[in-house]
Symmetry: C2
Subunit: 381 residues, 2 copies
Amino acid sequence: MQNFFISEKIENFLKAEKLPTPFLVVDLDVVSENYKILKDTFSNSIIYYAVKANSEPRIIERLMNLGSYFDIASIGELEQCFSVGVSPDRISYNNPVKKPDDIKNAYDLGIRNFTFDSKGELSKIAKMAPGSNVFCRFGVRDRGALWPFEGKFGCSSEMLIELMVLASNKGLVPQGVSFHVGSQQSDSSRWTAAITEAAKIFEALLMENIDVKVLNIGGGFPIKYTSEVIGVRELSEEIAAQLDCCFGSNKPQVFIEPGRFIAGSAGLIRSEVILVAEKEPDAHERWVYVDIGRFGGLAETFNEAIIYPIRANKSKAELGPVILAGPTCDGADILYKKNPVDLPINLRDGDYLDFLSAGAYTSSYVTAKFNGLPAITEYYI
Amino acid sequence: MQNFFISEKIENFLKAEKLPTPFLVVDLDVVSENYKILKDTFSNSIIYYAVKANSEPRIIERLMNLGSYFDIASIGELEQCFSVGVSPDRISYNNPVKKPDDIKNAYDLGIRNFTFDSKGELSKIAKMAPGSNVFCRFGVRDRGALWPFEGKFGCSSEMLIELMVLASNKGLVPQGVSFHVGSQQSDSSRWTAAITEAAKIFEALLMENIDVKVLNIGGGFPIKYTSEVIGVRELSEEIAAQLDCCFGSNKPQVFIEPGRFIAGSAGLIRSEVILVAEKEPDAHERWVYVDIGRFGGLAETFNEAIIYPIRANKSKAELGPVILAGPTCDGADILYKKNPVDLPINLRDGDYLDFLSAGAYTSSYVTAKFNGLPAITEYYI
């Protein structure tokens, strides 16, 4: 494990005091920095931070002050945005699956932007949020994403046209078309292919006299864990070229919805080693158990999808392979077994393991009470 | 969906009042009933309820009053037992992965039974809980379990012998040997094979002058979800015959650690349909989204391991296949896709879906704040 980014502020925080583990520490300056990188890279786009990645109000506040907009999934997230003063016109309610009362509540609170991908959802929006701006999401291939959508969201292009005509007839304002290539997507052709399809959709909509203004190209921008990924600048150039190619001088306003890219690299999770075990004499691999696991925040290790860089406090020792597991009595609480981790052979209980790039999709997934273990503590510095 | 067990008390509760969804309702009388069935079936065994299955104090209290003992995984679960008055001698701290301070705290609170499966854990127990009774867990094949351990716990027989000798030398009392065949295990040969191995272990321990008194055959007793499983009476007979065969007149005291069997069939989760969607014209399958999902309590749908029986409120309608998904913006929050569910073709948003046999391993897994959605409400009646 070398050359991994940990901010000086976080390093100083870790040195200052021995804190009870497990904990997440997030450097808010890195959050700001990541926002600025995206703003600079996608200079003509409007950024909607995907609140679900890390809904901490101090993150939302930072981003609000930098000019960010917000993509929310629920009334709970809406309230978190309001708690730091985000104005409703900067919020878009983009979960395509909403309860009627939640739509009404959001509308009553000033929200005017809603996403849908089905007739049923459209009917609810028309009734509960009359006259609102609507965005219709079409489904795209998301193979290559480490955390894909599995077809959960997005309709076909053909159905999108029908639905937007219907939206217009119901008095809603067809404002934009959206897609999402899946989280932690490293294959840039997923975006370019989707943009090609979007351009055809825009044309077909025009034939129906529907002139949408916005293309929401979603999130999914990858960050570096243990494997190299396409750089965001290269990706943005490919996306810009494809927009030029498909839309020419008639380009729509582009929205992006980053979550992981903004919060991920800003956070580190420190865990304590509870046990190093060999299960038989001369075992090839050791089992190492730490005090955070699948149910305590590392949910994205599900099927070993996200492989975090890990730093031990004995970095100069010889390394050997370990199976890494969480602290609960649950067989599903194994972090890495198909992909053993190389860790110091002199690792012992009481040592630390730091999970890097752990600021997004970690604390948000913590279970409230599984196995009676306390939830992870969070520090935002 | 027919002939599924829902207690009259729960049916009356559901009829009495329209409550906000999602909620879990557990019939405490069914919990008692399930305990009594096990007590009657495994008449010579001591029952340790696996608190992690559902740690609700009212369940613990019921079982305490019926004479149950308790298998805990953490200090948090210990406190839950104490909160209703369980005495420390009825508690065994069986998580083989414990922090030293947690062992010490448990010891200071009167706990004298600890499980381990490695040298590292043994050293901690010897230091923090001197003179305690110890149980060593060996690993067994758990293929056939719907929720297996994947080798996370249990050492080899060979290592068990070494560790028990070491335990004795360190002043601990080698009290028993344990194994666990994995949760929701339907293959009775997993128990019988493990008992054969246990008998050999007991013999080998005697050769070392270690006379253990207890065989803990764990939990894993299956309950009926959508597939038939071996009945607990048949299973107990096979287990009893194997104990006779392997141990003869020299049988150890048997402990069992049921969790799912006691709490599972006692609970029902009611969810509301948020959306029924077709994603393309003439789609073969509909997508149905409900207000509980992978992160709201149905974590055991992970890889579609547990397939709950589901009841809709329009039970007489024609059925058609649906992909069933949870309410979050997460692609992992799909409940059944490889195994589509047959649900009424006239199902609409606002309808109910009831997940049956949902009293164990549901509320315990709920995430605290993912997607800003409120946690499931729990009723114990």
